[in-house]
């Protein structure tokens, strides 16, 4: 259990490193070694750390703990075949983490990041559409039932293809360097993470690494089904590399454009659900 959590943590960090490497290669740069993000997290954890004087101290620290806690919980939900609605809930709670990170320090850059995280609330809508469409097919939101459904009827990737696109978009919008990553854009220094330095940043990297692992693994479980661990990891890597290609070749969108794109995708899926459920039924 704890061993799987630590495994997921290191694989997640490794995925972040591979993500950076692929982006660099696509852009014609050598790029950092793939274990860079592991070193990065360790480096942060060894740095001298304090809490900014202007910060709301309890919140400043608590948000980091919450970030690690919710994604550990999400991993256990995946492993125990729990409800994907709960997974969706945790994904929404991640928004509160992002928001709390930015607000707690009192820094204007953090605050900009927090406001952008509020604006990009639309990034949750595709996930909601995903949940709706999956329920339409499986009549259950328990992961174990979804896996059982796929063993009988074949992968949902084919049956619920628009939902897969929506979830792909959700994963994309939470990756570093993605066109939707407006909350950590460099024009606002590091956005909501600006003031979380040293071990706080190390803690966040830990949480985010588990998050990347969970989201990719959830995609595999929900749309392809239960696979042996190695095959699942390989598939997750493939999905990640495809995401890295998108991140490498697309510029960061402006905040309102991200909202537009995500809302349009959600609208398209809503139309798809209506067509399936109302017109064809």
């Amino acid at each position: 259990m704890i061993e799987y959590l630590i495994f997921a943590l290191f694989i997640g960090l490794l995925f972040h490193g591979i993500h950076r490497k692929v982006i660099a290669r696509v852009q014609g740069r050598p790029g950092p070694p793939i274990w860079q993000e592991i070193l990065h997290t360790l480096k942060f954890s060894f740095k001298e750390t304090w809490i900014p004087k202007t910060a709301s101290q309890t919140l400043f620290v608590a948000v980091v703990l919450v970030a690690i806690g919710i994604w550990s919980a999400a991993l256990f939900i995946l492993l125990s075949g729990g409800s994907i609605l709960l997974l969706f809930g945790i994904y929404l709670l991640h928004k509160i983490v992002e928001h709390g990170l930015g607000l707690s320090s009192g820094s204007p850059y953090g605050k900009f990041g927090a406001i952008r995280s509020v604006i990009s609330a639309a990034s949750e809508l595709p996930l909601f559409a995903t949940v709706g469409l999956i329920y339409f097919f499986t009549h259950s939101l328990m992961l174990s039932d979804i896996i059982a459904y796929q063993q009988v009827h074949g992968p949902l990737l084919i049956a619920a293809f628009p939902a897969a696109i929506a979830m792909y978009l959700v994963i994309l919008s939470k990756l570093h360097y993605s066109p939707f990553a407006i909350i950590e854009a460099k024009e606002i220094v590091s956005g909501n993470m600006t003031e979380h330095f040293g071990i706080w940043r190390a803690g966040l990297e830990v949480g985010y690494a588990i998050k990347t692992y969970v989201l990719l693994y959830a995609f595999v479980l929900i749309f392809i089904g239960q696979l042996p661990l190695l095959a699942a990891l390989l598939l997750m890597l493939l999905i990640l590399v495809s995401l890295s290609f998108i991140c490498a070749v697309s510029p960061m969108l402006s905040p309102y454009d991200t909202v537009t794109v995500q809302s349009l995708v959600t609208g398209a899926i809503a139309v798809y659900i209506i067509v399936l459920g109302v017109i064809l039924a």
Partner: protein, 222 residues
């Protein structure tokens, strides 16, 4: 004694809290939401607000804004009330109680935001207040339609396959919650985050996201 009719949405039932014929329930899902609301209510109680730093436009100078302790006390009170309302809303086993708690979340949210003397923030609070007021119509209207068509407001009854809830009632409930909590509408409310008191402002988002998550569960299960 009680058996949650739908366990394939939010997980199995853990335990129930009975108040006469109103039976609140903790499934895996609602218990998780409850725990999260509890964490952030506790944070609102114990943490001190941050000191907001502003950069003077066009220069390197920065200054911290002054905070009025009296307003902060009111804001903290409202944040705690909001947390309590959220706790009620996420475990409620009754549509009417749910709508009541959600409208209370809306009221306290206005209180949290309006406790800051800044034109932009007060404007945003006023507009949000209008949205919240308008949203009570579909919110309670949805509950009323549920009662009128099915004869019950208890989720225990509504979750069973025998009871069919009309689609319009579900849509009304979701619309009402969307208006009361700010979740999707806070795109227009970025001004709100100009207000001081991070732990309290955060409560606005915690409550609206949690009631939104709860209404999703209710609507899918019904």
């Amino acid at each position: 004694m009680f058996n949650l009719p739908v366990t394939n949405i939010g997980g199995s039932e853990l335990f129930v809290l009975e108040f006469g014929d109103i039976v609140n329930y903790f499934s895996v899902y609602t218990a998780a939401l409850f725990a999260f609301a509890l964490i952030f209510t506790a944070l609102a109680i114990v943490s001190r607000p941050e000191k907001m730093v502003d950069i003077a436009f066009g220069g390197d100078a920065y200054y911290t804004k002054e905070i009025d302790p009296g307003l902060l006390r009111f804001q903290r009170f409202m944040a705690i009330a909001c947390g309590l309302a959220t706790l009620g809303a996420v475990v409620s086993g009754d549509v009417f109680n749910f709508t009541l708690f959600v409208s209370m979340v809306g009221i306290t949210n206005i209180g949290i935001v309006a406790a800051y003397k800044n034109k932009h923030v007060l404007n945003a609070a006023f507009q949000y207040g209008i949205v919240a007021m308008l949203a009570t119509v579909p919110l309670f209207g949805g509950a009323a339609i549920v009662l009128a068509t099915t004869g019950t407001l208890s989720l225990w009854e509504l979750y069973t396959a025998a009871v069919a809830v009309p689609l319009i009632a579900k849509i009304f409930l979701v619309l009402g919650v969307m208006g009361e909590g700010m979740a999707p509408f806070y795109i227009a409310k970025a001004e709100i985050t100009r207000a001081q008191g991070a732990p309290f402002i955060l409560m606005v988002h915690v409550s609206s996201l949690l009631v939104f998550l709860r209404v999703v569960e209710i609507v899918i299960s019904m």
